[in-house]
Symmetry: C2
Subunit: 338 residues, 2 copies
DNA sequence: CGAAGCCATGGAAACGATTACATGGACGAT
DNA sequence: ATCGTCCATGTAATCGTTTCCATGGCTTCG
């Protein structure tokens, strides 16, 4: 592969001049510039990003650690992140943690070894030494979706509380009184927050959330299935199951089907995170939608701000309820427009 | 960040010795080794992958260009690729082409600039100059899922023909005679092959595939919607729509719903690529399932073979029909086990 | 007209690792 | 005792860039 030396030789100039042309340094004569450009073309030269990074100490690359690639919410997020980053001249390397802290740490380590310029993380746990070191160690970092309390890192996320309140009101209006939730891991903010928001919202209607109605999940389908089976085996089973993410809702649907029950006649179902498939499930599923596009863009902007030395801003965007048929008759007052 | 020099100083040895310890070169005294390891620990030293890559001319990184991150088939593939690569000590950088050739080329270019060791591609088009250059230019490369005819690059893919034949037989048995297909872009192998397989299978039953029953899609949901609308507007609308991928099937389902028609009573639907959601759509969708896990593993193995100078092997794995209710009464003889 | 400044250019140092080669000591064989 | 091996180690070159500094020519201004 041709190097800058070959180009210099071909153009009859020094490597310094070639470099200047390539980096559009002003001090280059039109003549030299033309000759260099011609040589670049003739040789099909492309600068070696590895060498450049070594010298400049920047890779123009962002790392993105997502909790699960199979989760459509995160792939939507990844897509918008990549798009926003590309617009700013950055590449993105995605690390899939699969909801496993040790895998998350593996990815953080290799990304740091590669000297990425900044890290976008949706932490899988409450803060491994690895991730805390990275945060304190001066690596530009921004949390997205989930975050770790007590760490001084900007957070870009959606606030689900109002939407959860809307959801509970919606359920209450439809006559449901025994509401259960499948939570995510308590170590994650989205895992605990959604339960709290749910509990608070229930309180507003004079309802309580008994322990038996809190299923412990891990944001993946299987755990939703197991938690739901437990609910269904209860002497007094809940009227509604609210899954804290879309995959656990999928698992819940599986479990309900397996029991031969119907949604919403026998039991209602709702989920956090709206995805295209929810329109087509049987029945269409009521969900809380996050603005993934905006989230991704805001996260990249915040991270690039940190990288380039500007004061970054934490951002909180609203989530909204999309009512469909899985909780009872379509709520005409708030019907999805899809 | 500590460099190898700092470690050398701390341990009281030369950088060469540190390097030898880190690369487990045999010629190092136990004493020196211990001191180096202690220094590494004390400083929290991690080798700079950029510098190492520059010197050794290898990055231990694979590039994976997928056609669309929002397509669950490709994310499943990406996941298995990353897993297999990790097991062999490689990282993976994913590039999302979004079914746009120019975006695919952008990613190929930046991956090559980063000097990845090898490239796994599921081409979005029939072969841009970019991709052909890369192939001829000596970059280790393997096609996965889709490929480009006439280019000497190993291919890892699933053969859908027998499964398509099974599908058509299944449909015929259920009484369907007017079968339509939503094809992918003709420039992609999976785009054209699936149509051919479908046409051939129809032929075996004495049926033909009129032009009006071939919808032109681009593997994304919207195109499935549009193609289906056109089918439904036909004076003699088809009995069945077979979508060449899962997203177009989603679009087709949208269009059918919008028309107020029912599946399968008014029109049947089947798709290439099985995904978890198909179990839960209304109705559950009959699909052709590919072994994504095996595909990913085989692709990585083939690519690493090329990289390490072993003779690589093209691999073709079987796909299989998973019959559900979207084409008519559950085919008990071949019912999904999910 | 001479000093000062500027511009285009080249030489060479640096970035952080790996590795070819040199060196010197220990040890075994003759 | 001498020579040759082998081992542990260090010195320095190298990978492909960027960039500091020096240089020499030209312009400009007093």
């Amino acid at each position: 592969m041709a190097s800058i030396k070959d180009v210099a030789a071909e153009a009859g100039v020094s490597v310094a001049t070639v470099s200047r042309v390539l980096n559009s340094h002003p001090s280059v004569s039109p003549d030299a510039r033309a000759r260099v450009l011609a040589a670049v073309d003739a040789l099909g030269y492309r600068p070696n990003a590895v060498a450049r990074s070594l010298r400049t100490d920047q890779t123009r690359t962002l790392g993105l650690i997502i909790s699960d690639v199979l989760n459509p919410y995160f792939t939507a997020l990844a897509r918008s992140v990549e798009e926003a980053a590309r617009a700013l001249g950055y590449s993105v390397i995605i690390g899939n943690a699969d909801e496993r802290p040790e895998l998350q740490d593996h990815h953080i380590r290799t990304l740091l070894d590669r000297r990425i310029d900044g890290l976008l993380v949706s932490p899988t746990d409450g803060g491994s030494p690895q991730i805390l070191d990275a945060a304190r160690g001066g690596t530009p970092m921004v949390f997205v979706d989930r975050w770790i309390p007590g760490v001084d890192v900007p957070v870009v996320r959606a606030d689900g509380c109002p939407a959860v309140r809307d959801l509970v009101a919606h359920l209450y209006r439809l006559g449901h009184r025994r509401l259960a939730i499948i939570a995510g891991p308590a170590a994650t903010t989205t895992g605990s927050e959604r339960v709290e928001a749910f509990r608070d919202a229930l309180g507003e209607h004079g309802l309580t959330l008994p322990d038996a109605y809190i299923g412990q999940g891990d944001f993946q389908a299987d755990s939703g299935r197991r938690a739901t089976e437990r609910f269904l085996a209860l002497p007094e089973r809940p009227d509604v199951v609210f899954a804290a993410d879309n995959l656990m809702a999928l698992g819940a649907l599986d479990a309900i089907r397996a029991r031969g029950l119907r949604v919403p006649q026998d039991i209602a179902l709702a989920a956090f995170d709206d995805i295209p498939w929810f329109v087509h499930t049987d029945p269409p599923i009521t969900a809380i939608a996050q603005p993934t596009g905006d989230l991704g863009r805001a996260a990249v902007r915040a991270l690039v701000d940190v990288i380039e030395g500007r004061p970054p801003q934490s951002v909180t965007l609203p989530a909204r309820l999309v009512a469909r048929r899985s909780c009872g008759e379509p709520a005409s007052y708030q019907r999805s427009n899809l």
